[in-house]
Amino acid sequence: MDFVVATDLEEALDALGRGALPLAGGTDLMVGVNAGQRPDNVVALRRVRELRQRNGQRIGAGVTWRVIEDEGPRALAQAARTVGSPQIRNAGTLGGNVGTASPAGDGLPFLAAVDAEIELTSREGVRTLRWDEFFTGVKETARRTDELITAVVLPAALPGRQEFAKIGVRNAMVIATVACVVTRADDGTTTVALGSVAPTPIRIPEAEELAKTLSDPGSAALDEFQHLVAAGVRPITDHRSTEEYRRHGAGVLARRLLTRCLREGAA
């Protein structure tokens, strides 16, 4: 097995060009290794300083959950606090979450909610893909194997109100059964994004349209909003939960988060 510890971006890209698998915090890759999936070529990214930098709305791919939970935007920080245990949060990175592209990735609904872009760097240059161009399926992305996820780029202005919540089988260290982010801007623009209820993170445009017209946290139209969210997701049944429960839970979570946003707005 080839194992390279890259100390700068150049070395990392060289290794990727030779077919290496990128290793960030290792919280996904090492689980696979322990389960017998043995990659024969790995490049470790932990010492690549460029990846750990934050610059305005550009979050380096190697920034850990531990940093994000203190310094990230509100809903992403809320999501960060639900990732694993403190030890895992000190190792796991936002870029790793994006690269693994698990349907249950805790950071992904936020990226969908704010229309984040994923920055990919290779020997051939830098390109950025919008989140919905990047995530293509269950653990599938548009990243070429020679490309490194170098950053997540958030829009210059983030919505003033953002809320994250997830349902799992216990209160910590749990893979989400349903995860949801709702954001709301001062002009009423609302986004609704969910995780664990489709092959990729998913937005619910119909519900967003309706939400734009709402301002009263007690509005009867919230029933319709909840229904649109439930109708808009594409969950499956597996050992963690059922399709029906995930669909229902998506609606309930989105409604609760929207209500929180509206209450805050009213206050």
């Binding site: 689980v31 322990n34 017998g36 349902i167 089988v169 216990r170 209160n171 910590a172 260290m173 749990v174 893979i175 059964t177 050992h239 963690r240 939960s241 059922t242 029906e244 429960y245 229902h248 839970g249 309930v252 979570l253």
Partner: protein, 751 residues
């Protein structure tokens, strides 16, 4: 007095600093590391095993299969010796050990294990007992392996030509006629989940085989039971097998009986070098789990709410090999119906072989499964009868000194008083709040196991003392508590005493460390050993002080024969032997005789309650308040009693709300600690009351009796009933995670 005080655990410092030595830390010069090739089929004939590629891996010295065990007894099992050390011609569950790879380091062993090629021919697979009991089901075992040990007399042999590993039945009276005449008959069916008793230290063992002696250091709770299995495998006398259990990183019953010790031992026997086998959590889950259960119960009551009859039918999924599943079933049969006056009873059940991980003991074994059915049934009956659930229990609970099972020990507890502690603690009977529910339940387990314990106390020439016992310290605090008992008996300070445990060559015999027996039975053995040592010391003191034995007694670390005739223990020992030398050894023996003639040695009481809130939209359950009662007769170390109760109840909450091993087809989908979800700190109730009831009614030292399992047993039923009261719907299965609760509130057929 040392007993009665919360003396800090003697292991606390070394465990906190990481200095504590566990079996996993044991190393022997020249040792090889083993890795296990596990079956990738749930049920198959082994066509051939090709180790040639694995043997080319640098550092690999051997690949061992069942074919290499010629001359050995190739199976183990303390009741039914049905468990092959390595699969013989056939695998019966996914994950079963097929071959053992030995190498210079564990990485080489792991790499080589992947290269062992095994060819299988699949056989039909049965995962659920219903499938295994079907007429066309494949037969998992066709030999009678039972050993006929009379101390396991509850365990009859298997029913031939079926997949029933063991049947058990308890009955008296005439259930049918009693039910016919009943005012109300209430029927309940419940399912208890398949569980894993998560201990932080997975199974491991290191074995050496030198000069015809086998020496094993392992994670065995019951080193003397493991010794029996190993002696049988290698045809060695008992003095030719040494099994040592250092501090264990948790046990909870899962380390009862033999697990990986035979693997390490055959590795050492074949290679001539010490061999270490250390599993990860996934390997441990593929070694032993706890029985899932399907239990049907119906109970009849008269119009006053008095029980006229109860009937139980129990089916346990015991997995591919019997392990302790036979006893789990027997215990379930004895524990399902609760400590009530039941004039007519029939409780029967079967443990069924399936193509799943073998199941065995887990804290309370049999009781949590049975209690869920029995206590939910009582609560449903209360609702049907229009009688308060606490009042219904008051009317039926067996009183102190009464017998609820003919021929068994009379109740050594005041259950009604315990129940009051729980219902008062929970504020039961107050105004109900929307989406909130209170649930509680009780249980009595025939605990203590067969009473055989021996202990030695050695009082040295400097006045310090060593307690020797074969009882294992696995985090429960026996090293501390047994030291407290000895300190009080000997009249010396607890820091003058050390307790050495679980070395079959050097510590005296102990049957098991389980069934909550240590404080009671090992404690009695230690107490008797101290008294024996002091009696000898008194005789020596009489000689030293030149008095008649009748005039001499011991008091506070001295031998005393009147106001001006007194000598310390060390002075007596030194004077008697002449010089700074010598020691006095006391022996304590506990067997089924005298006050321990009746079984069980004591009833272990479980009395717990919870206050929960259900989010009706998401099904998320929050436990706000947990109440436990440790009815231990006398708390030798109150903090440890509370710790045991909290730990037990927490494991119960795990089963009630989040834990379940899930088979999807022939293999487990969640054999890891991310997807098998034990409770974490954030899941703990905001308010916890751990009450202790001390009425001096135990048979153990100072009136003590065992604790540590009881507070798990009724938790599942209490949570289920609390959720029923919060939602108006009765759950029938655990765990009640958010999906399950939502489904309870929104059944698919009502959609």
């Amino acid at each position: 007095m040392s007993v009665g005080n919360s003396v800090p655990s003697v292991d606390a410092r070394v465990k906190t600093t990481g200095e504590a030595r566990y079996a996993l830390d044991a190393a022997v010069p020249g040792m090889l590391f083993a890795d296990i090739v596990r079956s990738t089929r749930a049920h198959a004939t082994i066509l051939d095993i090709d180790p040639s590629e694995a043997l080319t891996t640098p550092g690999v010295s051997a690949v061992i299969t069942a074919a290499d065990l010629d001359g050995l007894f190739p199976r183990f099992g303390h009741i039914i010796a049905d468990h092959p050390i390595l699969a013989i011609d056939r695998v019966r569950y996914y994950g079963e050990p097929v071959a053992l790879v030995l190498a210079d380091n564990r990485y080489a062993a792991a790499d080589a294990a992947d290269l062992v090629r095994v060819r299988y021919a699949d056989l039909p697979v049965v995962i659920e007992p219903e499938e295994a009991l079907a007429a066309e089901a494949p037969l998992l075992h066709d030999e009678d392996y039972s050993l006929g040990d009379r101390s396991f007399s509850e365990a009859q042999s298997a029913r031939p030509a079926t997949n029933v590993a063991h049947e058990a039945m308890l009955q008296w009276g005439d259930v049918e006629s009693a039910l016919e005449g009943a005012h109300v008959v209430v029927e309940t069916t419940t399912r208890y989940p398949m569980l894993y008793a998560y201990a932080m230290e997975p199974y491991n063992a290191i074995a050496s085989y030198d000069e015809g002696e086998l020496d094993v250091i392992s994670t065995a709770q019951h080193p003397f039971q493991v010794r029996e299995d190993l002696a049988r495998i290698f045809s060695l006398p008992l003095n030719g097998v040494r099994v040592r259990s250092p501090l264990l990183g948790g046990g909870y019953g899962s380390k009862s009986y033999t697990k990986v010790e035979p693997l390490a031992a055959v590795g050492a026997w074949i290679s001539g070098r010490p061999v270490k086998v250390a599993l990860d959590v996934e390997g441990a889950i593929h070694t032993t789990r706890a029985d899932s259960a399907l239990i049907w119960v119906r109970s009849g009551f008269d119009d006053k709410g008095t029980i006229v009859a109860r009937e139980f039918d129990i089916t346990l999924n015991t997995g591919a090999y019997a392990d302790n599943g036979t006893l789990v079933l027997t215990k379930c049969v004895h524990r399902c119906f609760g400590p009530y006056n039941i004039p007519n009873l029939r409780a029967s059940g079967r443990a069924v072989y399936t193509n799943t991980v073998p199941s065995s003991s887990y804290r309370g074994f049999g009781a949590p499964q049975g209690n869920l059915a029995g206590e939910v049934n009582m609560d449903q009956a209360a609702e049907r009868l229009g009688i308060d659930a606490a009042e219904l229990r008051r009317r039926n609970l067996v009183g102190p000194g009464e017998r609820h099972i003919p021929g068994k020990r009379a109740m050594d507890a005041d259950l009604r008083a315990d129940l009051e502690m729980v219902v008062k603690g929970l504020g039961w009977g107050g105004r109900p709040t929307a989406n909130h529910g209170i649930g509680f339940g009780c249980s009595a387990s025939d605990a203590g196991a067969f009473p055989v314990s021996t202990a030695q106390v050695r009082l040295f020439a400097d006045g310090s003392a060593l307690v020797l016992t074969g009882s294992t310290e696995m985090g429960q605090g026996s090293r501390t508590v047994l030291g407290q008992i000895a300190a009080t008996e000997l009249g010396i300070s607890v820091d003058r005493i050390r307790v050495k445990q679980s070395d079959t060559s050097l510590t005296p015999y102990e049957r098991t460390t389980g069934a909550s027996r240590t404080t009671t039975l090992t404690g009695l053995a230690v107490q008797r050993a101290c008294r024996d040592a002091l009696a000898k010391l008194v005789e020596m003191g009489a000689e030293v002080l030149d008095r008649d034995v009748e005039e001499v007694k011991t008091a506070e670390g001295d031998v005393v024969a009147g106001p001006d005739s007194r000598a310390s223990y060390e002075e007596v020992v030194q004077a008697w032997f002449g010089g700074r030398q010598g020691e006095v050894t006391g022996v304590g023996i506990v067997r089924r005789a005298g006050e321990l003639a009746e079984l069980p040695p004591f009833w272990e009481i479980g009395m717990v309650g919870v206050d929960v809130e259900v989010d009706p939209q998401t099904g998320v359950v929050t436990v706000h308040h947990l109440v436990t009662v440790g009815d231990v007769g006398y708390a030798i170390n109150p903090a440890m009693v509370e710790g045991q109760d909290l730990g037990a109840a927490t494991q119960g909450l795990g089963a009630a709300l989040s834990e379940e091993l899930i088979y999807d087809g022939p293999q487990l989908v969640n054999p890891n600690m991310v997807e098998y979800r034990v409770p974490r700190m954030g899941d703990m109730p905001a308010r916890i009351d751990t009450f202790i009831a001390e009425r001096g009614d135990g048979v153990g030292p100072f009136g003590a009796k065992g604790g540590g399992e009881g507070s798990l047993n009724p938790v599942g039923g209490a949570v289920a009933s609390a959720i029923a009261r919060a939602t108006g719907r009765w759950p029938t299965r655990l765990p009640l995670n958010s999906s399950a609760v939502w489904e309870l509130l929104n059944p698919p057929d009502e959609a």
